[in-house]
C-alpha cells in the first residue's frame, strides 16, 4: 500500500444556488481543486451524492460530471451512503491510490436540495433510514434524532439547554468561513426560542437543507511534493457500519459504528484521541455531536454535553469541533458534507484557516456519518513536514 496525500482542494459556497445546476456546482468545485493541485492529469473521479435521483431527477453522476467538467474518458462513478456519501467516495479514492490502481484521483461531493419543497426533501432524506419499518411509520430523519436526544436527556438527566453550546460554537466559527451558509452568531436565548421541528429537536439543534459541492485531489505522497507546497497526508481512512434502523441497535446511545470506525482509524494512525488537535464531526444535530464525541473517546458516556458547557469544543479548547461552522452553520449539503469536512481539516493543517486557525494543528480528524450512525467514515489527516 502506498501513502496517500491530498494535494488540492476546491469548494463552492454553501447556499441556495438557484442559478446553478447540480453539475455546475460539482464542476466549480472540481475545477477549483484541480487548479489548487496544479495536477496535469486525472485518472479517476469519484462522486459522493445522496439525493440526485429523488430531488434532481438525475442519476449516473460519474459519467455526467466527468464529461461536464472536461474529464471525458476517465473512470467515474457515483457513491451513495446517505449523508456519509462524501467520505465514502473519499474512502474509495484513497483505496484506488493506496492500492496503486490510480495515481491522480479527484473525489467530489455534491448535493442540490433547495429546488424541491420541504416535504419532498424530508421524504428523500428519510431514505437514509429503514423504509419498511421507520419511514413507513412516518418517522422523519429529524424524528429519529429526536428519539435519540429524548432518550439521552432521560438517561443522563440532561436539560435541553445544555445542547446550546454546540449550536453557538458552530455559528461563531462560521463567521470566519467565507463558504459558510450561516456566517452569523446565535445566542443561548435564540436557542431557547427556536422553532420546534420534532421535539426536543428544534431548528437550532438541526443542520440546514442547502446546496453545495466540494472536491479534493489525491495522489501518492511520494509524488505530492511536486505539486503542492503543503500536502496533507491521509494517516487513516476507516469505514464501519451499524444497523440502519434505530430499533435494531443493542445500545441505542452507543453509536457503535462511530466507535468502530474511530477505533480502526486510531489503530491505523497509531494515535489516541489525545493526539487529535481538531475534530470535524458530523453535527447534523446537536445530539449527534454529543454521541460522536463519546463514541470516539473524547468523553465518557453521558459526559459529552459537558465538553460543550465547559468550553472544550471551542477553537483554543481541548478538542475544537466544527471549526469552520460544521454541518450546523457551514451547512449540510448531504452528499458533499464529507468532503467539506476534510477540506476544512486540510485548511487547518496548512495553516490557512484565517481567524479560525487552531494553533499548532498537526493532526486533524474528520468523521462523516450516513443515517443515524449506520455508515461512518473516519479520516485522520496530518500535515506533511
Amino acid at each position: 500500500m502506498r501513502d496517500v496525500s491530498i494535494i488540492g482542494i476546491g469548494q463552492t459556497p454553501v447556499g441556495e444556488h438557484w442559478d446553478k445546476s447540480l453539475k455546475d456546482l460539482a464542476a466549480e468545485a472540481i475545477q477549483n481543486a484541480i487548479k489548487d493541485a496544479q495536477a496535469e492529469r486525472v485518472d479517476a473521479l469519484y462522486v459522493g451524492n445522496m439525493c440526485s435521483g429523488t430531488l434532481n431527477g438525475q442519476e449516473h453522476l460519474g459519467a455526467l460530471i466527468s464529461d461536464w467538467v472536461g474529464l471525458r474518458g476517465v473512470e467515474a462513478v457515483k457513491i451513495e451512503a446517505a449523508c456519509g456519501s462524501g467520505a465514502a467516495a473519499l474512502r474509495l479514492g484513497y483505496v484506488a491510490v493506496a492500492g496503486e490502481l490510480a495515481d491522480f484521483v479527484v473525489v467530489a461531493g455534491v448535493e442540490k436540495m433547495t429546488d424541491r419543497p420541504s416535504d419532498q426533501v424530508t421524504a428523500a432524506l428519510a431514505m437514509a433510514s429503514d423504509a419498511d419499518f421507520e419511514a413507513q411509520n412516518g418517522l422523519s430523519f429529524v424524528a429519529l434524532n429526536a428519539l435519540l436526544m429524548r432518550r439521552y436527556m432521560h438517561e443522563y438527566g440532561v436539560p435541553h439547554r445544555d445542547f446550546a453550546p454546540f449550536a453557538i460554537n458552530a455559528h461563531k466559527n462560521a463567521v470566519g468561513n467565507p463558504f459558510a451558509l450561516f456566517p452569523h452568531p446565535v445566542t443561548a436565548q435564540d436557542f431557547g426560542a427556536a422553532k420546534m421541528i420534532a421535539d426536543p429537536v428544534n431548528l437550532l439543534d438541526s443542520s440546514p437543507v442547502c446546496d453545495g459541492a466540494a472536491a479534493v485531489v489525491l495522489c501518492p505522497t511520494a509524488l505530492a511534493r511536486q505539486f503542492a507546497a503543503r500536502p496533507v497526508r491521509i494517516r487513516a481512512s476507516a469505514a464501519a457500519t451499524d444497523t440502519i434502523a434505530l430499533h435494531d441497535r443493542r445500545d441505542l446511545l452507543g453509536l457503535e459504528g462511530a466507535a468502530l470506525s474511530a477505533t480502526k482509524a486510531y489503530g491505523q494512525a497509531k494515535v489516541t484521541p489525545k493526539d487529535i488537535d481538531l475534530f470535524e464531526l458530523h453535527d447534523a444535530f446537536t445530539i449527534m455531536s454529543v454521541l460522536s464525541l463519546e463514541a470516539c473517546g473524547f468523553a465518557e458516556r453521558g459526559r459529552g454535553v459537558r465538553l460543550g458547557t465547559d468550553g472544550d469544543i471551542a477553537i483554543g479548547g481541548q478538542i475544537p469541533i466544527s471549526t469552520m461552522g460544521g454541518l450546523k452553520a457551514r451547512g449540510h449539503p448531504v452528499g458533499a458534507t464529507g468532503i467539506y469536512q476534510v477540506i476544512e481539516v486540510v485548511l487547518q493543517l496548512r495553516e490557512q484557516a484565517g481567524a479560525n486557525q487552531v494553533r499548532n494543528a498537526r493532526l486533524g480528524m474528520a468523521q462523516n456519518v450516513g443515517g443515524s450512525g449506520a455508515t461512518v467514515v473516519t479520516t485522520i489527516l496530518e500535515a506533511v513536514e
Partner: protein, 135 residues
C-alpha cells in the same frame, strides 16, 4: 410484510431464544437462522418519543403526530406512531398496546396502507377502583 404490520408477527431464534421484530430470518443476536414465526403480545412501554411537526411527504394530513420507540414486553424495540394520546401526556416508561390503524394513503383512488400504532393501555374503570381501594 402484511403479517408484520397487521399482527406484529416476528420470529423467535431456536438457537438462543431471542425474540425478533421485524422478522429477518437471521438472528441479530447470534446470527443463526431464525425462521420460526412468533406473535408478539402487542404490550410494551414507551422507550423514547417525539412529536413530528415537519412531516415527510405523504404524512402531512396527520401532522403533528407522535412517534416513538416502544420496548415490547418480549424485548425488541419497535419504531411506531403513538395514537389516541397527545404529545404532552406521554412519558418514557408509559405502558402502551398495539392497535391497527391507517398509516397513509395515496390520494382518493390510491391504496390505503394500514399498520400498527401504539396507544396508552386503557385501564378498565373497575380495576382502577380496585387499585385505588387497595392503596
Amino acid at each position: 410484510m402484511q403479517r408484520h404490520r397487521y399482527a406484529l408477527v416476528g420470529e423467535v431464534c431456536n438457537h438462543c431464544g431471542e425474540k425478533i421484530f421485524p422478522a429477518r430470518d437471521v438472528c441479530p443476536q447470534c446470527n443463526a437462522p431464525a425462521k420460526t414465526p412468533y406473535t408478539f403480545s402487542g404490550k410494551g412501554e414507551v422507550y423514547s418519543y417525539s412529536t413530528v411537526h415537519n412531516p415527510p411527504e405523504g404524512f402531512e394530513q396527520f401532522a403533528p403526530y407522535v412517534v416513538a420507540l416502544v420496548r415490547l414486553a418480549e424485548g425488541p424495540l419497535v419504531a411506531a406512531q403513538l395514537t389516541d394520546v397527545e404529545g404532552e401526556k406521554i412519558e418514557i416508561g408509559m405502558p402502551v398496546e398495539m392497535v391497527t390503524r391507517r398509516l397513509r394513503d395515496d390520494g382518493d383512488k390510491g391504496t390505503i396502507i394500514y399498520g400498527y400504532k401504539f396507544r396508552p393501555v386503557i385501564v378498565p374503570r373497575a380495576s382502577v377502583e380496585a387499585k385505588s381501594a387497595s392503596v
